[in-house]
């Protein structure tokens, strides 16, 4: 299988984007019936539901903490979300990402506000087209906000990739597969800090720095879309109260 061309003569990517261009993004808050908070996100072909249940009693009991809440997170992919059917059950990758997402969210959730209680975050990947962990954490943050879980900031995230030596924003699966690197970044923008950071692939020190700057710029736009989705969710409430 010869490696396909990922950047054309005009400097455009396989899906016609410029290197620093995000894919179309769609977010909706409050999409599930039985959670305490939920969100749906589409980033290009990536489609994810996030749901939050809690605070509720800790189960099993012995994991309860007297002075703070417990945050759980499950990142899970539908079997048909990827090219080759994913086996049922949790893969090692899903277990690692569940940990990474939980730790990033733990950074902004005010756990001390719900001692002896637990909050569950479920991230369900319906279709994976690159950037599932960053789209997943972006949606999970909206779901936490929707559930009214106290947080110091709302997390926004995207991935920077490297394809044919060029740094590109928000890589899709094709670019991830044939490219040189994938660096997912999640940020707490108001706290001006990274909360999730990984790198798979080869990047120089200088590329990592430049990539972070691209991600930070993009995250501003993602933040706006998040805020807009939250507003849409809650702008109808006054009407509801009048009805």
């Amino acid at each position: 299988m010869s490696k396909p061309k990922l950047i054309d003569e005009n400097g455009l990517r396989v899906d016609g984007r410029r290197p620093d261009e995000l894919r179309p993004i769609k977010m909706e808050v409050g999409v599930l019936e039985k959670t305490d908070g939920s969100a749906y996100i589409e980033v290009g072909g990536t489609r994810i539901y996030a749901g939050v249940i809690g605070p509720r009693e800790v189960h099993p009991k012995h994991l309860e903490l007297p002075d703070r809440g417990v945050l759980n997170c499950r990142y899970h992919m539908a079997s048909f979300s990827v090219d080759e059917r994913k086996p049922l059950g949790m893969t090692r990758r899903e277990i690692e990402l569940s940990k990474i997402l939980r730790e990033a969210l733990e950074t902004v959730v005010l756990l001390e506000e719900f001692p002896r209680m637990m909050v569950d975050i479920f991230v369900e990947v319906i279709q994976a087209d690159g950037g599932t962990r960053t789209a997943g954490i972006t949606a999970a943050s909206l779901a936490l906000a929707d559930a009214g879980i106290p947080m110091t900031d709302i997390i926004s995230a995207t991935a920077v990739g490297k394809v044919e030596g060029t740094l590109v924003l928000d890589i899709n699966e094709f670019e991830d597969k044939y490219g040189e690197a994938d660096m997912p970044v999640a940020v707490a923008p108001q706290l001006n800090s990274i909360v999730l950071l990984q790198l798979n692939g080869r990047m120089t020190v200088e590329e990592v720095e430049r990539g972070l700057e691209m991600a930070q710029a993009a995250i501003k736009k993602i933040r706006e879309i998040q805020v807009d989705a939250l507003k849409r969710r809650y702008r109808v409430e006054p009407e509801g109260l009048e009805a």
Binding site: L32, E33, K34, T35, R74, S79, F80, F122, E124, Q127
Partner: protein, 275 residues
């Protein structure tokens, strides 16, 4: 084990009497008629990476099914038939009563009922899914995920799985020297009939269709019946404890037949439009 038992206490009895008083007046707690299903919404081809997919809402119950087709070996005792399997998962974000982890008995029962409705009605023409007799056949993996659970996942899952099957396509292969090569085209999955299930609850002497959770909790028992396009039954499952008088069950069989035909029409219209 003994799931749901703890719910049935005194409060349940009061609720049951209240619901029954309504039923005697021909009304349900959500305003429906006794034999009325909730609104059905069907979107197909919702997951591009799947070979077939459908997102179905039955009221607020929402189920996503995706189908992946692979090439594999037939069972040794059925060399001239393709293979399909059904799996169902009750995602923990769909209900506070679902838990993460391997499928529990409810999820297994659900997947087996969906499987039975499809398999026993002979809906999939498995004999057309053979590439090389005894060696290579299509393997069709039908995976249902419950995204929102507001009662009656049985009928919603069958609808979702069948809608996904109706829009499922397979890559066409030709056989060259005992090996299969993709031709570059796709064909429709061969279907022979459109199975539909109807779930009914018995509350004292009243039969209601498509129960919501409050009705499921107070019901004396629950029955799911699968029908094919000819009105022949392909599956019955009494899926909860409780006494089911024979006469009541006979009424259910007939009521289900009528409702299944109604539902099938909606399904065919929806997929026809979308597909």
């Amino acid at each position: 084990m003994s799931v749901g038992m703890e719910k049935r206490g005194y409060a349940i009895k009061i609720m049951k009497n209240k619901v029954y008083e309504l039923l005697k007046m021909g009304k349900r707690i959500d305003e429906r008629a006794l034999d009325q299903l909730r609104e059905i919404k069907i979107s197909t081809r919702v997951v591009d990476k799947a070979d077939g997919s459908a997102l179905v809402s039955l009221g607020k119950t929402k189920i996503l099914t995706g189908i992946k087709v692979e090439i594999g070996s037939p069972y040794s005792d059925r060399p001239s038939e393709g293979v399909f399997t059904v799996n169902a998962e009750l995602l923990p974000l769909a209900s506070k009563t679902f838990e993460a982890g391997p499928p529990d008995e409810r999820a297994i029962e659900l997947s087996r009922i969906v499987d039975r409705c499809i398999r026993e009605s002979r809906a999939i023409d498995v004999e057309k899914l053979v590439l090389i007799e005894g060696q290579k056949v299509y393997m069709v993996y039908i995976d249902c995920y419950v995204l929102d659970y507001d009662g009656n996942y049985f009928d919603a899952a069958v609808l979702s799985a069948v809608a996904a099957l109706m829009t499922c396509t397979l890559p066409v292969y030709r056989v060259v020297d005992g090996r299969v090569e993709p031709v570059g085209e796709r064909m429709k999955l061969p279907l022979r009939t459109i199975p539909v299930s109807i779930t009914m609850a018995l509350i004292k002497d009243k039969i209601i269709v498509d129960p919501i959770p409050t009705e499921e909790e107070i019901a004396d028992t629950l029955v799911t019946i699968g029908y094919d396009s000819e009105g022949v039954l392909s599956a019955i499952q009494k899926s909860s404890p409780g006494l089911l008088p024979v006469g009541i069950f006979k009424e259910m069989v007939k009521m289900g037949l009528v409702k299944s035909s109604e539902v099938r029409t909606k399904l065919e219209e929806a997929v026809g439009r979308g597909g």
